[in-house]
Symmetry: none
Subunit: 240 residues, 2 copies
DNA sequence: GTTTCAACCAATTTCAAAATGGTTGCAATC
DNA sequence: GATTGCAACCATTTTGAAATTGGTTGAAAC
């Protein structure tokens, strides 16, 4: 019953009713799944073996497995096997990800992550962390080259992520930064010029530091969001 | 050469001019690096080979390589080799991260990520993706076990992330989910009971789907934020 | 006492063979 | 004639042994 509800969902092809033909295998499969003692990783026997175990042909078994896979109750992969449970996410390949991304998408991701980090930082930052943050902000202003500015800017944002005291979000931001570096590769900044004294980021950073120092979570998130929005606008070419 | 080096293995102190003994090898190394045609990955020959090429002892070569490595001009790894350029960023260790985290921090991370994903989904989702999302929502309601519900719930949230059409944020959410599974392990749900018909998530999901279907970015982000806030409240024990 | 050399260690790569899900072509069966 | 059964084949992955490679040690040599 729950079988039929799940199957109709993804049925992209023309409605041929294989229900009756497959239902027998499905019942056997459910019986096996509840009876068999599976290994910790949830792997079940190879198709050729399982087919013999259940006394069905391999093609028939595969139809049943396909149904269960569409329901999301198991997942399969060539060379690996068949496993019960949801399909595990493919682990992160930075360079591959960078190739499939562009700087604008990186900015969208930063806008997704960093305001919340600023919010948490306003709640959880220690006094020492706020001090360090202010110092990094000062160092940004004092930078004489773009390269130096970017180094301090990166540490500024990283310091906020640390002050949020959430190891997961911190790790996600570091991953994002790795992608950012990989994406940005190949489009170097001018190394001789320096950030102008009225660079918009300076004021943005001030507001972020103030909000965190004054323990204003909403204000910190908002200041960060506006800052990144400004950066994105510059990136797009709006208000250069 | 007759100098008393008194060198400790991990002498991390401020960069002092390299010993006279090492400078010879360093010059040879610099010469080799500028002359040799290295493969694309920047890998240079194995130490044993390179030592013979330069006509120096392996121990001596290693001293020079150590200097260059400290300068950040190359990086080495056992079994891999020696490569010119900066050391590639280490990708994160899920299980280690899970050990340093708790379910509440996972929720904070979700609140940081998923509202923005919902916002982008309201902008970028295709009609087919919205349809699939609605179907997954229906499947959640129709679930007869917690296990089945959670499977559909996970796919629901994943579908939103896909509909956002931002590979970076999608990858970050998948990473987060991997951590979530690792953290949640060991506290199984009752497998026989089923989600109550008035489960708060049902209405929450409805609002999210509506906002995305009606292309309301702010509304989608808000609905998602409220949903996750509800889940967090349940997690903490407030309003069980 | 330092240097040199060879051996050893641990992490990784490489290579071939086996395993495994996915597919195809052809014959058998109804 | 369409479905089913069967076997072979394909592409990916795992496995395991051997070779590779950076890192380390200890004794011999100078």
């Amino acid at each position: 019953m729950s079988l039929t509800t799940g199957r109709r969902m993804m049925d992209q092809t023309v409605a041929s009713p294989p229900d009756a033909a497959v239902s027998g295998v499905l019942t056997q499969l459910y019986g096996f799944l509840s009876a068999a003692r599976l290994p910790d990783d949830g792997r079940l026997p190879p198709e050729r073996e399982l087919a013999e175990l259940l006394g069905v042909k391999r093609a028939e078994l595969r139809k049943g497995l396909a149904v269960l896979e569409r329901e999301g109750q198991l997942w399969r992969h060539v060379g690996k096997g068949t496993f019960v449970g949801p399909r595990p996410p493919q682990l992160l390949d930075i360079s591959d990800l960078a190739q499939r991304s562009n700087p604008l998408q990186v900015m969208k991701a930063r806008i997704g992550l960093e305001p919340e980090l600023a919010r948490l930082a306003a709640i959880n930052a220690t006094a020492a962390e706020v001090t360090t943050l202010a110092e990094l902000n000062t160092a940004c202003r004092a930078s004489t080259t773009w390269r130096e500015y970017e180094a301090y800017d990166a540490r500024f944002h990283h310091q906020i992520a640390e002050a949020a005291h959430n190891p997961i979000l911190l790790a996600l931001l570091e991953t994002l930064n790795a992608v950012r570096r990989a994406v940005t590769w190949g489009r170097p900044r001018p190394s001789h010029s320096s950030p102008p004294a009225d660079h918009h980021s300076f004021d943005d950073h001030d507001r972020i530091v103030d909000a965190i120092a004054h323990r204003e979570p909403a204000g910190a998130a908002d200041a960060m969001r506006r800052h990144l929005q400004n950066v994105e606008d510059r990136l797009i070419g709006r208000s250069p």
